[in-house]
């Protein structure tokens, strides 16, 4: 698996993390709602995040922290994608010069 695939799986994982946190936040006033937790795992095709049911209630503060965390993780993985892209661009230019 190349770096690009890794980084893009990380971006998708961060997107799922945000989906789960937003789902929890939107249900702050829903009676009987149980918090979902983002569980990350390593698979042969990269990192993946899935929602797992818990018995806890939603806490707005920890969900907000999750929102920020997901956003930064997405940003970070995005930087890796652009870095790899730039590197490939340089390599292609170098090949053309020769």
């Amino acid at each position: 698996m190349d770096g690009m695939a890794w980084a893009s799986s990380a971006m998708a994982a961060a997107q799922t993390r945000l989906d789960i946190a937003a789902e929890n936040l939107s249900n702050l006033s829903t009676g009987g709602y149980r918090r979902r937790e983002a569980r990350g795992s390593l698979t042969p095709s990269g990192v993946s995040v899935a929602a797992q049911a818990t018995n806890g209630r939603v806490d707005a503060v920890s969900e907000m922290i999750d929102v920020l965390g997901a956003q930064r993780a997405f940003e970070g993985a995005g930087k890796v994608v652009s870095a790899i892209d730039q590197q490939r661009q340089h390599a292609a230019e170098a090949a053309r010069v020769r």
Binding site: M11, A14, Q15, L18, D19, I20, A21, A22, E23, L25, S26, N27, L28, S29, T30, G31, Y33, R36, A51, A60, E63, M64, V67, L68, A70, Q71, F74, E75, G78, V81, S82, D85
Partner: protein
Amino acid sequence: MSTAMIAAASGMTAQQANLDTIAENLANADVAGFKESSATFAEVVSPGEAGLGTAQTGTSVAFVQGKLERSSGAFDLAIDGPGFLVVTDGNGGRAYTRDGSFARTADGSLRNAQGWQLQGIRVPEDASGVDVGAHGDVTAQTPRGSQMLGHLRLAEFASPQGLRSIGGATFRATRACGTMHLLVPGSADGPSVRFGMLEKSNVSIVQSMMQILSAQRAYEANAKGVQAADEMLRIADNLSRG
């Protein structure tokens, strides 16, 4: 739109609905017999099992007894216990209320501010006060002595959550209320009705203020969720621009 954005936006809508309900409670805090309500929500789940946020399912009314307070009106009445006063609009339209702020009109009927008339009771012109005795018997004190006016009955519903509010403390019956049966006030284990008293609303102003604060914070948290989802879309968009 991403899933996160849809969910967070539904959360904002939910908190807006929460605020609307709290505002209605506060607006009616001084209406006699008013019962506090709260918005109820359910999770929205898409066919693919991913959560899509929340949606309002209705409002739930807290039929909790309000405090009884002495009132200046001789024809005001309050229910201590379950049940509703049966009122009519004069055209056969019926409604049910716990608001007992009645005044005597020219034809002897007892009407509240909205014009609803207390069913079954007519008060003579020279009556100085009214009383409810055992078995719901209503008597008036007049210069000629005490006079029997009729029987007062209270309505009780199998499922009062099915009542539809028509403003203030007044409700109409719907199919969802289930069967209605009449209660006799003044019996040993039943409700009691007292004239010269009013039931205060069961809205707690302090509680409502706290609910407003938490709804506001929850709204903000969801707005942050929308912002984060938007920011991530922007980042993804910039990647494709190189």
